[in-house]
């Protein structure tokens, strides 16, 4: 039997022990290839250091020398229940866009805090990004308990501070676990040194998490990716983002409002009657109509709102600020339109959550704004809570992604 995969991102402040925890997870689940072990040992020896688990993940030369993670990376380990793909995200502020890249692919998250240092700037910022990205299954681990003599008091203290912050950003953490990655306490084995903690280890906690189900029961959204002419057929290809495609269904292309019926669902050398969300397929229609990339196929029987104005939360990842009324490209699924931020309602520091009152007509790097966006042409956009796939977008400037956004309210 094939085991399922689950993607975890490990986030937290720099030096709070993300890479070491990952090394420990590999080591304890016996997921390290022999060569890798040897390679790590020989590099550590060259550098005159003891073997460090962190080197499992930090592969780039600079990362090894400075002992910090620059970019996001992925590796794999197994438990009895499933295979885990670990996304290691850098803790440094300057690598935030890499952290977001990593975290945006995750289904669950481990937020790591150094028990000795407590909650720091990037602890809060990373937690905020988890909440922004809509990651709901979160484990909090309080690390380096060996450095604080496994003190329950210190643990409770850090835990309380962190939980009160997480509450503000609507993260309900399922587990808060005292660990030491270096010594192996409560990672895969229950700790003997932390006898006051009766809860689950990290691995036990992970195995209780569930997989997100496909959005088959939601309204149909099939964004057109491209149109191919294959022999004498015109095939409109794309990925079903939500709902299901079905042969015979009456559909409407938005925003052009062209109506027709699905004649066939096309995948190579196969005929299909239905396609579920997540599938990359093609359709042919009963009427031959001119369709372009960026239109959204919806069910004709369902009313779908076209909007050119909406409220969103935008996270800026660009060194150059994004100003109000600046023309910028918005991409949501295959839709691409020019737009601008009409107004910044409120902007906050993504780490302290404090409201920023200076330069309120622009968003600077790492700032988050609650903004009103006006698009030049109408788009099919949804509240993130209702259809997440159509409720998130990016801003593109000069072919670079400069911000990510979540739709809060369609106006």
């Amino acid at each position: 039997m094939e085991k399922e995969d689950m993607k975890i991102v490990i986030v937290g402040h720099v030096d709070h022990g993300k890479s070491t925890l990952i090394g420990r997870l590999f080591f304890d689940t016996d997921s390290l290839p022999k060569e890798k072990k040897r390679e790590i040992e020989s590099i550590c020896k060259d550098k005159g250091k003891d073997v460090e688990f962190a080197f499992v993940m930090d592969h780039l030369e600079e990362e090894r020398d400075q002992g910090i993670t620059i970019d996001t990376a992925q590796t794999f380990f197994k438990t009895k229940k499933r295979n885990y793909v670990i996304i290691d995200a850098p803790g440094h502020k300057e690598f935030l866009k890499n952290m977001i890249t990593g975290a945006s692919q995750a289904e669950v998250a481990i937020l790591i805090v150094d028990g000795h240092e407590g909650v720091q700037e990037q602890t809060r910022r990373h937690a905020y990004i988890l909440s922004f990205l809509g990651i709901e299954q979160v484990i909090v681990v309080i690390n380096k308990m060996d450095l604080v003599e496994y003190s329950e008091e210190i643990f409770e203290n850090v835990k309380e501070k962190l939980l009160s912050f997480l509450k503000k950003i609507n993260i309900k953490s399922s587990y808060v676990i005292p660990i030491s990655s270096k010594q192996g306490d409560n990672v895969s084995k229950k700790s003997k040194s932390i006898d006051w903690y009766k809860g689950k280890t990290i691995l036990e906690s992970l195995d209780t998490f569930y997989k997100q189900e496909a959005s088959n029961n939601k309204p149909l959204r099939f964004p057109v990716q491209d149109v191919y002419k294959i022999d004498d057929k015109r095939i409109t290809v794309g990925k079903v983002e939500s709902g299901m495609l079905e042969v015979g269904e009456e559909i409407v292309f938005l925003p052009t409002k062209k109506k027709t019926k699905i004649k066939s669902i096309e995948v190579f050398e196969k005929k299909k009657g239905k396609a579920e969300s997540g599938e990359s397929v093609g359709i042919t229609t009963t009427e031959s109509i001119f369709i372009e990339r960026g239109e959204i196929v919806c069910k004709a029987s369902e009313s779908v709102k076209l909007s050119d104005e909406f409220k969103a939360e935008v996270f800026c990842m660009s060194k150059k600020p994004i100003k109000t009324n600046e023309e910028i490209t918005l991409r949501c699924t295959t839709q691409e339109v020019k737009c601008s931020i009409k107004r910044v309602l409120r902007k906050i520091n993504s780490s302290t959550l404090k409201i920023i009152n200076e330069d309120v007509n622009e968003l600077k790097e790492t700032e988050t704004g609650e903004v009103i966006i006006k698009t030049k042409k109408p788009v099919v956009i949804e509240k993130f809570k209702e259809i997440p796939e159509l409720g998130r977008f990016v801003f593109v400037r000069n072919s670079n992604t400069v911000a990510g956004g979540i739709v809060r309210e369609v106006i």
Binding site: E62, F76, R392, S399
Partner: protein, 267 residues
Amino acid sequence: MNHLEKLENQSIYIIREAYKQFKDIALLWSIGKDSTTLLWLCRKAFYGKIPFPVIHIDTGFKFPEMYKFRDEWAKKLGLNLIVGKNQKALDKGITCCMDDQMTCCKYLKTEALKQIIEKHKFKALIVGIRRDEHGVRAKERYFSPRDEEFKWNYKDQPPELWDQFKSKGKEDDHLRIHPLLHWTELDIWRYIRKENIPTNKLYFAKNGKRYRSLGCTRATVAVNSKADTVDKVIKEIKTTKTAERSGRAQDKEKAYIMQKLRSLGYM
């Protein structure tokens, strides 16, 4: 959808995104199992006929079985095959593994590819690398820009979220596109079994040895194995503790050689 179907659908989406953005695009086919799987996915994405060329970079030192496999399948699948060879370097006497791995990989692979890109003015290349192959590859993006020197600036990579991929900027020479990034070695073999994808016989054990990863004859070592069928290969990989590319010299000669090679434009 099961696990393999999810992987397949995501890869097809990426391949179609790449072709939508770039008409001057090509697929790099090393004749190995990964890029042959990728070839298979490209056929599926375009309903049987791949609308762009397929490039094989020939160092001149590949296994005879690989050339045979290449020509046979290029014909069967009706591929528009371009073979890239740095003849000048070969004429000068540069051979595989002459002194160190950096030199021959640089001239016979990277330079050969540069010549092909320049000649055909390709703006994007589809490449079959996977995150689980090597630590450095784990850091890649699906759409990864390269400058005119082919350099990969791994310190400043573009953000990539929610299937929104980078488009080509003025400063980028070309983009590398990696539709198999999220697959593992085991996924590849299971997919090969499911789809009955043709694979080179070098991957299967003969006299107690097989190749797990294929490169140049002198830089690739066979591993001890009794796996002579796809089923047995899958069983072997499930339990092995040996790294996939353990038979490949460029991965271990010096600690950072793969990182250096990649940042210089190696695949």
